[in-house]
Amino acid sequence: MTIETKNFTASELLCVMSARALEDGQVVFAGVGIPLLAATLAQRLHAPGVTILFEGGTIGPHVVPGQLPPTTNEQRCTRKANMLVSITEVLLLLQRGYVDVGFMGGAQIDQYGNLNSSFIGSADDPSVRLPGTGGGNDISSLTRMIVAMPQEKRRFVESVDFITSPGYIRGGTSRRDSGLIAGGMYRVVTDLAILGFDDDTGRMRVEALHPGVTPEQAQENTGFELIIDSSVGTTEPPTEEELAALRHLDPDKVYTA
C-alpha cells in the first residue's frame, strides 16, 4: 500500500471503494461483513435511495450505527425495514429480476470471477473445509455481482479449487451455456484496484487502480495474468467524510479491523 496519507486500514479502503460502486436508487442484495457495511455507508453518503436486501428476509432496512449484525439473519438486520419475508422469498426476488446488484465478500476468486467458499484443496479430501455458499451461489447465479475482497496472490488464483458461486465459469459462453442466462460478475473491488471482466472472454481486467498502486503491484498480487490497459485510470482516495461516516457505523471495527 502506497497511498501517501495512509490514515485508514485496508478494510476501510475496501469499504469506501465498494460503497462508491453502488448507485442511488438501486436494489442491492448485500452479504454479511464488508458488503453490509458498505451498502449502509452508501446510503449515508451518495446513495440514500439504495434499497438493501439481506438473505435472512429483510427488505429496505436502516442498520443502526454501532449495532452491526453478526449475520444477515438477526433482528438487527431488520431495523426500520420496509418488509420482512421468508428466506426463500427474498432469494426469489433475485430470480424474478427485482435486484440490480448482488454484493458479496469472497475468500478465493479466479480469472473468470468464480468464487470459492467451500473447499481448499479437493472437495473429496480438502485441506480446509470452508463454511460454504450461503446465499452466494444463488446471488451470483441470478444477478449482476460486485465482490469486495483483499487482493492477494493466494486469493486471486488462476482456477478456483471449487466453483461455489459462479462467475463466467470457464469463460466465453460457458456461463450462459450452463443455463445462467442473466447476471454475471460486474466488479471486484479490492484494496488495490477496481476490477471488471472482458465482455467476450469473461477474463478479469483492471478498471482502475487505487491511488499510488502501480499496474505491476496489482499483477504481483494476482495468481493469473490480469488484463491491464496502459491508460488505466486511478480512483480518488477515501475522503475524510467517507472515513468519518464509516467509523461512525462501525466504531468497534467489527468488520473493519
Binding site: 454479511v32 461483513g33 438473505e55 435472512g56 428476509g57 429483510t58 453478526p70 449475520t71 439473519n73 438477526e74 433482528q75 438487527r76 431488520t78 431495523r79 426500520k80 420482512l84 419475508v85 421468508s86 428466506i87 426463500t88 432469494l91 426469489l92 433475485l94 430470480q95 467451500s118 472437495a123 480438502p126 485441506s127 480446509v128 473445509r129 470452508l130 463454511p131 460454504g132 455458499t133 450461503g134 446465499g135 451461489n137 444463488d138 447465479s141 441470478l142 471449487f162 466453483i163 461455489t164 458461486s165 459462479p166 465459469i169 460457458s174 456461463r175 450452463s178 443455463g179 445462467l180 442466462i181 442473466a182 467489527v254
Partner: protein, 317 residues
C-alpha cells in the same frame, strides 16, 4: 430420498389432525424423534434456533439423525460432537462470520467423521416448498454450472417445454420431524411468528411431524381473534412445549438477541483444542444441568436479561 406421493399422503392421512391439546415437556417431545430420522431445524444461523429441543435430543442420547437447515451455526458443532447427528444438509455451516471458521466442523468434515452436504440456500428453501406443496420437485434457475451442483446426485436438468430454457429441478424434502421455535403458540399448535420467518412455514407444511417449542403458550381464543397472524396451522403440529429462552444462546426475534458474550466464550473454548473444548461445553451445559431452567441459570441471569433488553428494543422506535 424423495418420498413417493402415495406414501407421503398415507403418512399424512394417518396423523391425528384434530384440534386437541398437545402440550408436553421437552423430554416427552423427544419421543417424536427416532434414531436415524431426518430432522429439520427452523430459524437460521443464530436466529430462532430450536436450541431447547436440540438440547433435549442430545440429552436423550438420540443417534445418527440427519439434520437439514438453511444455515447452521453452533448447533452444528454440538450435533456432530454429541453424536446425535452425523449428516447435516445446509448452505453454510460455521459459528458466524465474526467468529471465523468452526474448528469443530472442520475436524468432523475433514476427517470424514461426519458429512456436511452443501446445497444452495434457495434450493433448500425450494426443496422444503416442494415438500410443503405435495409436488415432487421445484424448478429453479441457480446452481447450474457450479461445483455445488456437481457434487449432488439428485438434481435434474430439463428443457422447459414452454420456453425452451434450461431449468434445474430440485427434489422435494419432507423431513420426518421439524423442530421450530416460535414466540407464541396455542395448546393445539396454532403458532404465531414475529419478524423473520426464514424457511419455517414451508418446513412445517412439508414435515411428517412437527415439534413446536414456544416462548409462551397462549389461548386458542387469542389465536381466533387474529387468525391472519397464525403462520403454522395446528393440524401440522404434534407437540407443543413451552420453553422460555428456548433459543439461548441464540436469538428469538423481539424477545432476546443472541447472548454474544456466551457465544464468544464458546468460540474461545473451541479455538485451540476444538474437540476438547466442545466436549467440555457439552458436559457443562448439556449433560450436567437437571433441566432447561438449570441450563439457563448456568448461562446466567444477567446475560439473559441483557439479551432480553436488546431483543425488545426492536419495538422501541
Amino acid at each position: 430420498m424423495t418420498q413417493d406421493y402415495l406414501s407421503l399422503r398415507e403418512q399424512t392421512q394417518s396423523r391425528d389432525r384434530s384440534l386437541r391439546d398437545k402440550v408436553m415437556t421437552l423430554e416427552e417431545a423427544c419421543d417424536f424423534v427416532a434414531d436415524g430420522e431426518h430432522v429439520s431445524l427452523g430459524g437460521s444461523t443464530a436466529s430462532r434456533t430450536p436450541f431447547a429441543m436440540i438440547w433435549a435430543l442430545i440429552r436423550a442420547r438420540k443417534k445418527n439423525l440427519f439434520f437439514s437447515r438453511s444455515i447452521v451455526s453452533t448447533e452444528g458443532d454440538l450435533i456432530f460432537a454429541s453424536g446425535v447427528g452425523n449428516h447435516i444438509l445446509t448452505s453454510w455451516f460455521s459459528q458466524g462470520i465474526v467468529w471465523g471458521v468452526s474448528r469443530v466442523m472442520r475436524h468432523f468434515t475433514e476427517n470424514r467423521l461426519a458429512r456436511f452436504e452443501e446445497w444452495s440456500h434457495m434450493s433448500i428453501g425450494l426443496r422444503y416448498r416442494a415438500g410443503a406443496m405435495g409436488v415432487p420437485f421445484m424448478p429453479m434457475r441457480s446452481m447450474m454450472g457450479s461445483d455445488v451442483a456437481g457434487q449432488l446426485d439428485n438434481l435434474k436438468e430439463m428443457t422447459c417445454p414452454f420456453t425452451g430454457e434450461k431449468i434445474l429441478l430440485v427434489p422435494a424434502l419432507n423431513p420426518d420431524v421439524a423442530l421450530i421455535h416460535v414466540q407464541r403458540c396455542d395448546p393445539y399448535g396454532n403458532a404465531q411468528l414475529d419478524g423473520l420467518t426464514f424457511m419455517d412455514i414451508d418446513m412445517a407444511m412439508a414435515a411428517n411431524r412437527v415439534i413446536i417449542t414456544t416462548e409462551r403458550i397462549i389461548s386458542n381464543d387469542q389465536i381466533r381473534r387474529r387468525p391472519d397472524q397464525t403462520r403454522i396451522p395446528f393440524f401440522t403440529v404434534d407437540a407443543v412445549v413451552e420453553a422460555p429462552y428456548g433459543c439461548a444462546p441464540h436469538e428469538c426475534f423481539g424477545v432476546y438477541e443472541p447472548l454474544f458474550s456466551h457465544m464468544d466464550y464458546y468460540a474461545e473454548l473451541t479455538r485451540k483444542e476444538p474437540m476438547e473444548g466442545v466436549k467440555t461445553y457439552l458436559d457443562e451445559y448439556f449433560y450436567a444441568p437437571k433441566n432447561w431452567t438449570e441450563y439457563l441459570e448456568l448461562i446466567g441471569l444477567e446475560k439473559l436479561l441483557d439479551a432480553a433488553r436488546r431483543g425488545r428494543s426492536i419495538y422501541d422506535d
